[in-house]
């Protein structure tokens, strides 16, 4: 099975306090720790596990700048066979639809059976996978938490729905799936793994290579534009307990007692 996994380099929100810059045009990016989008890591692990079962190849792809290459390499260290970087000044400022258009242009040049994305990325949109499927006219399922290959024409897919219930579907290939966290346990990537792919060749494709018309991408191709970043006026918020640890503990225990928090 030929599997393509779309990955994005994002600031790690578990590691960083995200700060808006002074004029609200961007977040402070200087000291941020970046990593591969959490959901995408599960998608790559799933692709590798499928390949280990039924054979084929796993290709990892990202739309981004030169820095984005590091996440492609990291996912190759996990076990992906190939990496592709889609990079062009013309791609900057693309909205979700623009990103999907760029990915589509690369996908139609290959011969993939299965395209995986993460369920969502750092801007919490959850849009690229569904848009891509619609552009390709391939079937789509979101929030996938189980994949079983039936044969080379169809797969069994479980997707998460409200309350943690699981909806089971059969889907014809080729298709696009967005992967939910928890579907597997992504393998650990050590220094040795990274070293092994340090010199692997990662081709870079731009707008010309993809024969992408400029009006589809970048600000010109975007119907949705981010105007600013801001931190909302804090509401009333929590009553913060302050003082030294002993004082805080005393206050907290009093509160717990009065609210029925200690049995």
């Amino acid at each position: 099975m030929e599997i393509l996994v779309c990955v994005k380099r994002v600031p790690d929100t578990a590691e960083n306090e995200i700060i808006v810059n002074r004029d609200g045009t961007d977040i402070e990016r200087e000291d941020l720790v970046f990593s591969v989008n959490e959901w995408d890591n599960y998608a790559v692990e799933e692709a590798i596990q499928i390949k280990d079962k039924v054979g084929g190849n796993v290709t990892v792809i990202t739309v981004g700048n030169d820095d984005a290459e590091e996440v492609v390499r990291r996912e190759m260290a996990m076990g992906a066979d190939r990496g592709i970087l889609l990079c062009d000044e013309a791609f900057e400022g693309s909205d979700g639809k623009g990103i999907a258009s760029i990915l589509k242009a690369e996908i139609v040049k290959g011969k993939y059976d299965l395209v995986l994305t993460g369920a969502q990325a750092d801007d919490g949109a959850g849009q690229v996978g569904g848009m891509l499927a619609a552009m390709l006219d391939w079937p789509f399922a979101s929030l996938v938490n189980k994949i079983e290959v039936i044969d080379d024409k169809k797969i069994l897919v479980g997707r998460e729905i409200a309350g943690g219930n699981q909806e089971i579907n059969e889907i014809d290939l080729p298709c696009v799936l967005s992967i939910q966290t928890g579907i597997n346990e992504p393998r650990y990537v050590g220094i040795r793994g990274i070293r092994k792919v340090a010199s692997a060749d990662i081709p870079v494709h731009g707008a010309n290579d993809l024969e992408l018309s400029p009006e589809l991408v970048g600000p010109a191709g975007s119907l949705v534009k981010r105007l600013d970043f801001f931190v909302p006026e804090p509401g009333e918020g929590a009553k913060m307990l302050e003082g030294n640890t002993q004082e805080i503990l005393d206050k907290l225990v009093e509160i717990l007692k009065s609210k029925g928090g200690i049995k």
């Binding site: 306090e17 919490g124 569904g130 552009m135 479980g158 929590a238 609210k259 928090g261």
Partner: protein, 328 residues
């Protein structure tokens, strides 16, 4: 002025979801004068019940009634909606599991724009709609401006808009079934088989009065012991956010949130949980929430009653010790 405004109505077992009226309020934020149309799909009796419930609140109800929609999967419904929704329309849909399946692709098929997970609308000028969204796990917000001249699909966060007592609508029911099916029943490249219900697990956290809830801030499985000890001392049960289940440190039946359990304890202690809307969506009945987090900017502090900025790895054992002390 914007095109026709539609609200997509989610329903379960013949009952419309609360989001129907929330999205009606959202539609009025875009255009207070708008005549809002509810869009509801399903089959037979269940659909009839839903239509009856919502009709008094909307000016029009468009229904698609077909057996292929007795369990709705997005792949079946999307082409039908693409056939009936007029060009240039605004479609509001609750941002949850079904929308994530349906909406992005629908926007492409309608050649419309898409704005995901909107929490507020700012204004509308000519064909430019400005909305507010959150990014980076709710740590910062953004204004986005969207060109809606070709229409737009907008998924709206549930709870973001308060239902208003709006003037009752005319409730005119329009059957759109034959138009929706005009190209035939959409191809079956994705076929629904069954729903597997989530398990309850050995402890039913939906019944607990005291929940000691742990999030990614616990950092390592080895640290989980301090949570067990605290819960035992307090006489509470352990629950958690999703990453703890994903890491297999606790059973899925312990997860609080939109894709986990809905809990209604008296006291909810959130330890190292950032407070994503999917997590908070599982906490009902206004419990007393105490949040302990090392990041003063964590969104959980916006909704908690009491907050403590601390490292849970140090603070939790001290709290356990203190409670043991007073219990004697």
């Amino acid at each position: 002025m914007p095109g026709k405004i539609f609200v997509y109505v989610i329903h379960r077992e013949g009952t419309a979801d609360d989001t129907a009226l929330e999205l009606l309020a959202a539609a009025k934020k875009i255009d207070p004068e708008a005549s809002v149309t509810a869009l509801v799909a399903g089959s037979d009796k269940e659909l009839e019940n839903v239509v009856k419930q919502i009709a008094p609140s909307f000016n029009e109800v468009w229904k698609i009634d077909h057996e292929s929609l007795s369990y709705i999967i997005a792949e079946t419904l999307r082409p039908m909606l693409a056939r009936i929704i007029p060009k240039g329309s605004i479609l509001l849909i609750p941002h949850e599991h079904f929308s994530m399946d349906l909406s992005p692709g629908l926007s492409i098929k309608l050649e419309a724009a898409f704005i995901p997970d909107v929490v507020a609308f700012e204004d509308i000028k000519e064909n430019k709609l400005t909305a507010i969204r959150e990014e980076f796990s709710g740590q910062v917000s953004t204004h986005v401006m969207c060109d809606i001249s070709q229409g737009v699909v907008i998924s709206v966060r549930s709870g973001a808009f308060k239902p208003e007592a709006t003037a009752a609508g005319k409730g005119q029911i329009v059957d759109k079934t034959s138009e929706a099916l005009s190209g035939g029943i959409p191809n079956g490249k994705r076929r629904y088989l069954e729903v597997i219900e989530a398990e309850t697990g050995e402890v039913d956290i939906t019944k607990s009065d005291i929940l000691v809830s742990v999030g990614r801030g616990i950092e390592d499985q080895d640290n989980m012991d301090i949570i067990y000890e605290l819960a035992e001392t307090m006489g509470g049960d352990i629950s958690c956010s999703r990453p703890i289940v994903d890491a297999r440190w606790l059973d899925k039946s312990r997860q609080v949130g939109t894709s986990g359990k809905t809990v209604k304890p008296k006291v909810y202690l959130a330890l190292g949980i950032s407070g994503s809307f999917q997590h908070l969506g599982g906490i009902k009945g206004s419990p007393f929430i105490i949040a302990i987090n090392k990041n003063p900017k964590a969104p959980i502090f916006q909704i908690a009653d009491v907050g403590i900025i601390a490292d849970i790895l140090e603070f939790v054992p001290e709290l356990t010790g203190k409670i043991e002390e007073i219990k004697g």
